[in-house]
Amino acid sequence: MTNIYKPDLMEVLQVKQHTPDVKSVRIKFQDEARAREFDFHVGQFGIFSAFGYGESTFNICSSSNWKDYIEFCFRKTGMVTEALWRIEEGDTIGFRGPYGNSYPMKEWEGKNLIFIGGGIAMPPIRCAIWYALENREKYGNITIVYGARTVDDLVFQDELDEWATRERVTVIRTVDPGGETPDWTGKVGFVPTVVEESNIPMDNTAALVIGPPIMIKYTLPILAKAGIADEDIYTSLENRMKCGVGKCGRCNVGPVYVCKEGPVFNMEQLKTLPNDM
């Protein structure tokens, strides 16, 4: 009898604090055989647990090319994330997964890519960015637009710096008005406005847009106006989940179980779903 709810035990290799309330964690399987057989695709998610506190759902934010460990990133907001906040190198946590579908990295080959993220949505984009950079010859120009409320809320800043040095990569950082610091060199403004004003070439382009619903709502028309077809605009729905395996009944958007048929959807697919988000 396979217990589909029993997680793998993971050793914490590294904990990194990005903002006053966001950390990323690097973990590896305790079981070496399991580590060898484990495989996932960027865009999939896992269910991570702090024993004694419970489980939370996060995207696996490391690239699927990184074989020795996986990473996830979270904001401290509730009981489980408060417990995860306290973990240190050498601690043990639980992981179930990978679950759900993934980004169509294969379909995106030969295209320019635009990654647009807001706040804590950088981690689920980060895995795709690294994957594209690790297969650089397969993708065209890469543009990354990333915004947060304040300078302090931007995550993976060091990696944004590194991406900006790569060939055919443009990184645009922005913070909401009032969120800038005196030495801030990025833009000030909301993500949709910044996307619109940055004159990003959008021919032969696929876009991955993840962030707060309001950001997505105002970004989509801009991409549409620039001529990106709905079927080339992707997002990842971050619905609340418990089981991750299509049983517990809370992540559905209309007829779609996000944990199994998502979390990755293109706008063409989302248009067919009822407004249950």
Binding site: Y5, L9, G52, T81
Partner: protein
């Protein structure tokens, strides 16, 4: 020709199962005005006569209200997980309502698609269900509206028919059912018959048509206005199966547990960000009805409702599936007339 068993022999059989260490459950009166399916310690607790509709369902024998998924032990930085498998005790339900049993063939889909739920499957295999065909119904029953019947055989391993003379006809429907009654019945020429059941009052095609085209209907507001969000409908429903997964324990150890949950609770879908896709009770009522009569049928081909009426019977404000479907039907009819 039929096989019959006397009330007395049935009682002896029940007592025999109990003495063999099997867990035997059936409808019983726990308080003067409260009927529940409970585990029995003696056959005389079993209620089989008259209109019997326990406030709970037999769902909890196979999908318990709370169930340990595994245990964990913490020692310093070391964590050990271990299986918590209760003893594989055979369970027998006697005198279940056919509308309770009929839930399981439907629930089998969700617990077995792609990922197989081992806990559900284990208890499903360990359980034998003996139903009693209904002779009576009350104003909340509507099995005949959801394509079932007072003697629907779905999910039953054997079905009893009250012959009215102190005997029951026994129809064994599965090998499990046959094994249970082997040698205990006698041949007879008496054949049992269920009651006629409630007059069908709902046109499911009309309801489905409404659901397919009215996600945004303002009617959902009025259809949920008096709902108090208590979740009694879901907890006493034979087919509602939503659950939560939580840890119960302390720093030294404990268990990861799954507990029943309900889509009628406002926290059910709440995101960490505070955003809630179903922040309003009309959205939650719509989800419950849609899940049962549109989403589940579209996905698995079965309606997620057996017409037992428990949702209305147990509802503090007399809502529940039947009144909502009847209202939808009326709205659909009125709107059709108006568009004409």
């Amino acid at each position: 020709m039929s096989e019959v068993i006397s009330q007395q022999t049935l009682s002896q059989l029940v007592d025999q199962w109990i003495s063999q260490g099997k867990r035997v459950a059936g409808p019983t009166r726990v308080k003067p005005d409260v009927l529940l399916y409970e585990f029995l310690t003696a056959a005389d607790q079993l209620l089989l006569n008259g209109f019997i509709r326990p406030a709970n369902t037999i769902k909890e024998l196979i999908f318990p209200r709370t169930e340990k998924l595994y245990g964990y032990r913490l020692e310093g930085k070391q964590i050990e997980l271990y299986d918590v498998e209760p003893p594989a005790t055979e369970q027998i339900v006697v005198g279940a309502r056919p509308c309770d049993a009929a839930a399981f063939p439907t629930l089998d889909y969700v617990f077995n698609w792609d990922y197989k739920d081992p806990f559900y499957r284990r208890l499903r295999d360990l359980t034998t269900i003996v139903t009693l065909a209904c002779r009576d119904h009350d104003e909340h029953c509507f099995c005949t509206s959801v394509k079932l019947a007072p003697d629907d055989e779905g999910g039953s391993d054997a079905m009893l028919f009250d012959l009215g003379d102190g005997n029951y006809e026994v129809r064994c429907l599965t090998d499990k059912g046959k094994a249970l009654f082997a040698g205990a019945t006698q041949s007879s020429d008496k054949v049992g018959k269920a009651g006629p059941g409630p007059e069908p009052s709902i046109d499911l095609d009309k309801v489905k048509q409404f659901l397919d085209t009215n996600f945004e209907s303002p009617q959902w507001q009025s259809l949920s206005l008096r709902c108090v969000g208590c979740g009694a409908c879901a907890y006493t429903c034979p087919t509602c199966h939503c659950f939560d997964i939580v840890d119960e324990g302390n720093a030294a150890g404990g268990a990861r547990v799954r507990n029943w949950d309900a889509c009628q609770f406002s926290m059910f879908t709440m995101h960490a960000s505070g955003h809630n896709p179903r922040s309003d009770k009309s959205q939650r009522q719509r989800q419950r009805i849609m899940h049962k009569f549109q989403i589940y049928p579209d996905k698995f081909g079965e309606i997620l409702c057996t017409g037992c009426g428990n949702c209305t019977r147990n509802c503090p404000v007399s809502l529940g599936v039947k009144p909502v479907l009847e209202a939808i039907q009326e709205i659909a009819t009125t709107e059709t007339i108006e568009t004409k």
